[in-house]
Amino acid sequence: MKIIVCVKQVPSSNEVRLDPVRKTIIRDSSEAVINPFDVTAAEAAVQIREKLGGTVTALSMGIPASERLLRDEIARGADNAVLLTDRAFAGADTLATSYTLSKAIEDLGGADLILCGKMATDGDTAQIGPELASWLNLPCVTDVSALLEVTEKQIICRRNTDAGAETVNVSLPAVLTIVKNLTTPRLPSIEGIRRSLKADLKILDAKGLGADPARIGLDGSPTQVIRTFPQQEKGEAVPFEKSEAASEVKKLWEEL
C-alpha cells in the first residue's frame, strides 16, 4: 500500500514568555518538533505498512530547516520524505497549504491512503485533511481514533464525534485525520537514525510542483493573520490573613 503522511513543524511548547521591557515574545526556548498529531498519524502509517507492505512517504511544506524533522520521521519508520519549500509558499493559510500539498501528492502519483494529524498544535484549525481530500476529490474521515480493519481496498475505523463515536467503512484511496491517542508512537532507533541520514530526501519548489502561483502562499490565502499576541492574564490572587479578611475584601470591593 502506498501511504503518504502529511506532517508539519510546530513549536514544542505553547508556553510563551514576554520580554518585560520590549513586550515582545521571546522565542529562544521553543524548539521545533513535528506536530504530535502527525507523529501519531505517521506511526499508524508505519504499522499499516508493517502489516500490508508498501511504502510510507512523509510530506511537509515548510522552511528548509524542516528537513531535519522529515529525516526524524524516516528514523521513526517512514521510507522516504518530500519537503516543499519555497519563499512563494510563505504566508499560506490552510487553503493554500492544502492546495500545495495536493499538488505534491499528484506529483508523487497519488496514494492509496493519505493520513494527516487531526490538527496542528500551533494553529488548531483541523482543516488541512478535509481540504486536501477536497482538492484530490477523495473521501475523508476525520477524528479517527481507531483503525479496526485495514485492507488494500478499504478501512473500517472508529471516529470521534460530538455525540460520541461512530464506525465508518471507507473505500480507498481516502484521506484520514488521526487523533493523538490512536496509538503510541515509537521512538527512533539508532539504526533508524543512521538510515535517515543516508536517505534521499526530495525537495520541491513551487515551479517544480507546477503549482498555480495565484493559489499558493499569501496570494492564494483568503484568510490572513493580522496580529498575534499572548492572552493577558486577568486574574490575581491576593492572600491575606483570616483576621484581616473582612477589611481586605471590603478594600478590594471598593477598588473594583
Binding site: S12, S13, E15, R17, D19, P20, I26, D28, S29, E31, V33, P36, D72, A75, T184, R186, L187, P188, S189, I190, E191, I193, R194
Partner: protein
C-alpha cells in the same frame, strides 16, 4: 500553648511516616513558615525536653524524617525563592528549604518567579536571568516532590549526578539554625577546617568547635555519614548531615546553563552481562551525564503493571527477550555533536553484544519526557507491588539497597547481588545509577520472616561492599533505617567520632534522634 504548636491529635498520619514506609510517633508538630517559627519550635522543645525531627517532603527512603517521639518540625511551608545573585558567571538562587524540586524546576524553566519582597539587587539579577540563556538545577532525584532542604540534608543525587555530582556541589551557601537557636551562615569557600580541627562561627559571635572524624571516605558516590576530610570546606559537613546538626532555613543554589542539546537513549540488551560491558565501555564518554539501569525483574514488574491497564499502559513494549535496559542521557553543546556522540554509543552497544536496532532515542522534549516516564515508572510499579504486599502484611517496609562500589567492581557486586537474591528465592527488581556502580536492589518479601532474611542479607552486603571500597548508602542518606550499615562501614571508633561532632552542635541531642547513629554507643 503557642498556636504554632499542634498537639498529637491534630497531626495527620502522613507526618508520622516517609517514603521508606516506616512509621513513628510524635507528641507535637510545628509547621514553620519562618525562621522565627523554627526558633519558637526549638525553644518549646528545649523547655519540654523533646526530641525534634525535621521534615521536608518526606520523600526520603531511609526514615530520616520519621519522628522518634517528641516534636515534628515541618519546613514545607517555608517554600519561597527569596532572591538571586550572579557570581563568577553563575546564577545563584536563594531558596527556603520547603521549596519542592518540581516547583523549582518549573520556576527556573518558565522564569515565572514571584519576586515580591526581593531586594533591588536581586531584582536586577532576575532581569538579566529572564532574558539570558536558559538555566537549570542539575540535581535530579527521581522523586520530584522532594524539598530542597531534604535534598541538602541527605546530599541527594539522581541520574545526572553521574556527571554533575550530588547536591553538595550545587549548594553555594546555607543558613542553619542550631538546636540552641544560634544561627550559622556559611558560604562555600569561606570557612575551612585546619587539618581535622574545625571552628564554625555563629552569627552572634560565638562558635562551634569540634574535631572532624578521621576516617577516609570511599572514593565512590557516597551519602554515608558526615562528610569529613582534612582542610575541608565546612559547608560540606552541614550538607548531608541528615537533620542531626541543625535546621537548614536558607539555601543558595548554583544554577548551570542548560545545554543546547539534551538527548536520551535507551539501550536494550538480551543479556545482563552485555549491558554491564556496555556500561564499562561508555562511562568515560564525557557527553553522557547519566547512565541508568533496569534489570529483568524490574522490566517484568513493569510489563505486569502495563498489562493491568494502569497509568503505565502507554509505556513502550519491551520485548520478552530483553533482560536489561541501560538509559544514557547526553548533554552536548549542539545537535551535530550530540548526533556524533549518539552514533558512537550505538557502536559501543554493538561491541558489547547489543544492537543499534534495539534502542530508543529521544531527541526532543516530548520524547525525553516519554523516556523519563519509563524511568520513573520502574520504581513506581515496584512500590505498587510493595503496597499490595503490605495490605496482607502491614509490618513490611520497602526493602531496597543503596550501595555503591568502585568502577572495577561492577561485575563483582552484581554477582554478589544475584547470588544473594537466588539464595533467598524472593522476587526482586534492580534499577539505579549504574554509571556510578550504584544500584538499588529491591526485594519483595511477603512475610516478616522474609523481611528479616533480607535485612540480614543487606547487612552482609554492607560488609562486602565496604571491603570492595564502596559505600553503604550512596544517595538516600543513612537516616534511621541504615544506621546499622554505617556502623559496619566505619566501625565503632569512627561512629564515636561522629557522635562527638553531633554533641558539639547539639549537646542536648535534640535533633534527628536515631538518624545516623544512636545517642549512646551501640547500634540502634
Amino acid at each position: 500553648m503557642n498556636d504554632l504548636i499542634l498537639t498529637a491529635d491534630r497531626i495527620g498520619a502522613e507526618y508520622l511516616r516517609d517514603e521508606s514506609r516506616s512509621t513513628g510517633t510524635a507528641q507535637f508538630a510545628v509547621f514553620a513558615k519562618s525562621c522565627e517559627d523554627v526558633r519558637t519550635a526549638l525553644r518549646f522543645a528545649e523547655e519540654n525536653d523533646l526530641p525534634v525531627t525535621i521534615q521536608g517532603g518526606r520523600t526520603g527512603l531511609a526514615g530520616a524524617a520519621v519522628p522518634d517521639g517528641g516534636l515534628i518540625l515541618t519546613l514545607s511551608g517555608m517554600d519561597r525563592l527569596t532572591g538571586m545573585a550572579y557570581e563568577n558567571g553563575k546564577y545563584i538562587l536563594f531558596a527556603e528549604p520547603g521549596v519542592v524540586l518540581l516547583e523549582l524546576r518549573k520556576q527556573i524553566s518558565t522564569r515565572k518567579i514571584d519576586t515580591s519582597g526581593w531586594s533591588e539587587e536581586s531584582r536586577q539579577v532576575f532581569s538579566r536571568f529572564f532574558t539570558d540563556k536558559e538555566q537549570f538545577f542539575p540535581t535530579d532525584p527521581t522523586e520530584t516532590s522532594a524539598t530542597l532542604g531534604g535534598m541538602t540534608a541527605c546530599n541527594a543525587s539522581g541520574a545526572r549526578s553521574f556527571r554533575y555530582g550530588a547536591m553538595r556541589g550545587h549548594v553555594g551557601g546555607l543558613k542553619m539554625i542550631l538546636a540552641d537557636g544560634r544561627t550559622v551562615k556559611i558560604r562555600r569557600g569561606e570557612c575551612f577546617a585546619k587539618g581535622l580541627s574545625a571552628c564554625l562561627p555563629c552569627e552572634d559571635g560565638s562558635s562551634v568547635e569540634f574535631k572532624l572524624p578521621s576516617y577516609k571516605m570511599p572514593d565512590v558516590k557516597n551519602a554515608s555519614g558526615y562528610y569529613s576530610a582534612p582542610d575541608m570546606d565546612l559547608i560540606d559537613l552541614l550538607i548531608g548531615s541528615d537533620g542531626t546538626l541543625g535546621v537548614i532555613t536558607e539555601l543558595q543554589l548554583i544554577l548551570e546553563p542548560l545545554p543546547e542539546a539534551i538527548w536520551g537513549a535507551s539501550f536494550l540488551f538480551e543479556k545482563e552481562k552485555n549491558a554491564l560491558t556496555f556500561v564499562n565501555l561508555v562511562r568515560s564518554e564525557k557527553s553522557v551525564v547519566s547512565l541508568e539501569y533496569f534489570d529483568a525483574g524490574a522490566l517484568e514488574i513493569l510489563r505486569e503493571q502495563k498489562a493491568a491497564g494502569s497509568a503505565f499502559a502507554s509505556l513502550p513494549e519491551v520485548p520478552e527477550c530483553i533482560q536489561s535496559i541501560v538509559y544514557a542521557e547526553l548533554h552536548c553543546t549542539d545537535e551535530e555533536t550530540a548526533l556524533e556522540r549518539l552514533l558512537l554509543l550505538g557502536g559501543l552497544a554493538e561491541k558489547a553484544g547489543g544492537s543499534e536496532k534495539d534502542t530508543w532515542v529521544a531527541r526532543n522534549t516530548g520524547d525525553l519526557d516519554g523516556l523519563m516516564f519509563f524511568r520513573h515508572a520502574v520504581p513506581e510499579s515496584t512500590n505498587m507491588k510493595i503496597d499490595a504486599l503490605r495490605k496482607k502484611e502491614p509490618s513490611l517496609t520497602k526493602m531496597g539497597s543503596d550501595m555503591s562500589v568502585p568502577d572495577d567492581k561492577l561485575f563483582e557486586v552484581m554477582d554478589l547481588y544475584r547470588n544473594g537474591i537466588e539464595k533467598l528465592g524472593l522476587r526482586s527488581a534492580i534499577w539505579g545509577h549504574i554509571g556510578n556502580n550504584h544500584l538499588h536492589v529491591n526485594l519483595l518479601p511477603s512475610s516478616a520472616e522474609d523481611a528479616a532474611r533480607v535485612k540480614e542479607m543487606f547487612l552482609s552486603w554492607a560488609a562486602k561492599v565496604t571491603q570492595m571500597g564502596g559505600a553503604v548508602s550512596a544517595e538516600h542518606g543513612v537516616g534511621k533505617l541504615k544506621a546499622s550499615f554505617l556502623e559496619i562501614m566505619y566501625g565503632p571508633e569512627h561512629i564515636e567520632e561522629m557522635r562527638a561532632v553531633k554533641r558539639a552542635f547539639d549537646p542536648a541531642w535534640r535533633l534527628g534522634n536515631g538518624n545516623l547513629f544512636s545517642k549512646e554507643g551501640g547500634v540502634k
